[in-house]
């Protein structure tokens, strides 16, 4: 079946046209995932955080992670500068000095200008996780009830697609270990299974890191944001709705957006702060759907039930058979054997 040039060009034009139409992303997306029924989460309130890093050391202890040194090899401290194969949770500081040379300016906590603020960084346990979608061997799974995103090193092949895909840069690989594995916060699933709190929520002195059901945490966040700055408020500690003595303090001026409510399809770790969260390192110009809706949408469209490939294969087999048959006949006639 020879195609003449005109037909070929027509086909191509039709192809290009339809391809551009498909470019309308929404048409191809798969359904976004929903929050699991008993989704647990964490509310991190940067205005309450004092940067004591109790959460970092509790995390290291609870998960048996080694200390990490940045810089001189004989530094005694655990001084990670970022999440890594040894650090599942890190506190960072945002600092803005309008005029670094000025000596009489005092930086104000939680102010975006001439201010400073703390930020807690670890897995956000997304509702529609990119890592779970990307992993070819289900080494990343999302618990259907609690929504905790866990990593299973016993299946992982170390391809690092999860590292590549995560929009928050969370999974890290142990590059300096010949038998390294991916490391990321597992929300202390092993402790939660025993009815305990995740280590970071357990030790936070101010309640900046608060554990609870995601829906309840969202309500708590809304309550805090609805109050006027300066009002006294009772901030719970440890677990929302628990019986630990709370921490009474004043409401700060919150940035009126709870990060994780909608971003990238929603996350189970929620963030609130005195400034927009992109200053604290979270991506804010992101859509309201998770990226897996796009990549899986393409895959489903092309490969659902392997229907399209089967059809294509049948067509190809037919065409190739016909074409090779022709040359078979030709060779048989001239007494030559062998094909290809």
């Amino acid at each position: 079946m020879a195609l003449n040039r005109r037909d070929f060009l027509k086909m191509s034009a039709a192809g290009v046209g339809s391809a551009l139409c498909v470019n309308n992303a929404q048409a191809v997306q798969r359904e976004p995932k929903k929050l699991p029924p008993e989704a647990v989460g964490m509310l991190y309130d940067s205005t309450l955080c004092i940067g004591c890093k109790a959460c970092m050391s509790a995390c290291k202890e609870a998960n048996g992670m080694p200390p990490e040194q940045t810089g001189e090899a004989d530094v005694m401290w655990d001084t990670p500068i970022e999440l890594s194969g040894k650090t599942l949770n890190v506190i960072k500081v945002y600092r803005d000095e309008v005029d670094p040379a000025a000596t009489d300016v005092v930086l104000e906590k939680d102010h975006a200008q001439n201010g400073y603020a703390f930020m807690k960084r670890h897995c956000l346990h997304c509702v529609d996780p990119s890592c779970v979608s990307a992993c070819p061997v289900s080494a990343m799974t999302k618990d259907p009830l609690t929504g905790i995103v866990e990593h299973h090193a016993d299946r992982c092949i170390g391809c690092r697609y999860c590292v590549y895909g995560c929009p928050f840069g969370v999974p890290k690989y142990e590059y300096n270990d010949a038998f390294g594995q991916i490391q990321k916060c597992q929300f202390c699933a092993h402790l939660q299974a025993k009815g305990q709190l995740p280590a970071c929520c357990d030790v936070c002195p101010t309640g900046a890191t608060l554990f609870g059901k995601v829906e309840d945490l969202k309500q708590e966040a809304a309550q805090r944001m609805a109050r006027q700055p300066g009002e006294k408020y009772v901030f719970p500690r440890g677990i929302l709705g628990g019986d630990r003595p709370p921490h009474e303090a004043t409401i700060p001026k919150y940035h009126q957006n709870l990060y994780g409510d909608n971003e990238l399809g929603g996350t189970q770790i929620l963030y609130m702060a005195g400034m927009p969260l992109d200053k604290l390192g979270l991506p804010t110009n992101v859509p309201d759907y998770g990226y897996p809706t796009m990549s899986e949408g393409i895959q489903h469209m092309l490969y659902k039930w392997m229907l399209a490939p089967a059809v294509l294969l049948t067509g190809l087999a037919y065409v190739v058979h016909r074409n090779t048959q022709k040359s078979h006949d030709a060779e048989d006639e001239s007494g030559e054997g062998g094909e290809s």
């Binding site: 940067g51 004591c52 959460c55 050391s57 509790a58 401290w77 906590k109």
Partner: protein, 382 residues
Amino acid sequence: MATKISESDTHLDGYVNGLGGITRRDFMKFCAAITATMGLPASVSWQIAEAATNPQRPPVIWLSAQECTGCTESLLRSTHPTIDQLILDAISLDYHETLCAGAGHQAEDYKHQSMEQNKGKYILIVDGSIPVKDGGIYCKVAGKTILDHLLEAAEGAAAIIAIGSCAAWGGVPSSGPNPTGATAVHKILKDKTVVNIPGCPPNPYNFLATVLHFLTFGRLPELDAKNRPKFAYNRLIHENCERRAHFDAGRFAIRFGDEGHRKGWCLYKLGCKGPETYANCPAVLFGDVGPASWPVGTGHPCFGCTEEGVGFTKGIHELSDLKTVTPPITYPGISENIGQGATIGSVALAAGIAGVAVGAGAVVASRLGKSSDDGGEEEQQD
């Protein structure tokens, strides 16, 4: 330099007897200690020595308002200088209700005499808060409200020092319902410079060093926005605390007597107000009795006695706010530079390979020629 030293040598020899038997060495040690407390260079101690032994002892009027006498008690326990060295040799304490020998009208008369004779030259020191409610009747001395005493004494004062939190910002009496209308001295004397030495009680050396600085140089030391001497109140307790390492490592005592408490861990969770209190307690301690002789050092959270809005206002076990991000060595920034970019070696290698490829391609292209006729030379190479 050598000449100067020998001058001072002979100069001070004459003071041996004038210092009441104190040896020159001990006296110089005292001046050096005061200099160090104020963070001044060592060479200044000579000037302090000279000022302290000035036969013309400056007069000091000490007014006590709504006070507990704790500031005076604190002063009594100083050792460098001792209180007797101070009031007998350095200053002329013309009026102090607790310490002066006289009493009643005699003391009051002497005060007025001193104030008139030394008008414009005496140092006024006030401890205790000034009640202003109901006309100030809640504190009266010699039939007059302390408020009036203060206004009168402030007129001819060369310098005014408010010692103790009560005088500096109101202190204990000003907390809660404040039934007496207890007010800070500087709020009464609005048009005058009042040096505040807050604390409950303040470390006596903060006060002594300030006074000696004034006597030596004729001016007050550098003050912050709340008129507190910067050498003592410029930094948070949190910035100098010996337990800061524990804070930074997240090790907290949760209850008095628990394992963390016994190990000397940070007291933040017990309500330590160090992160929002400006004072030098961890550096100068109290009572000259050795290390850890301050509240946190003994295992009790700081309650912010120097700080208005914190001391006697916030609950002792209420968590404090954090006023600074002055680091331990490492808080990583939100976005640090990470990862190995191009090194000379790798760029050179990559460039080299690219060069070889381009060269090979050029050679091949030239060998291929412009048409299918030339090209295909017989070479035994790949």
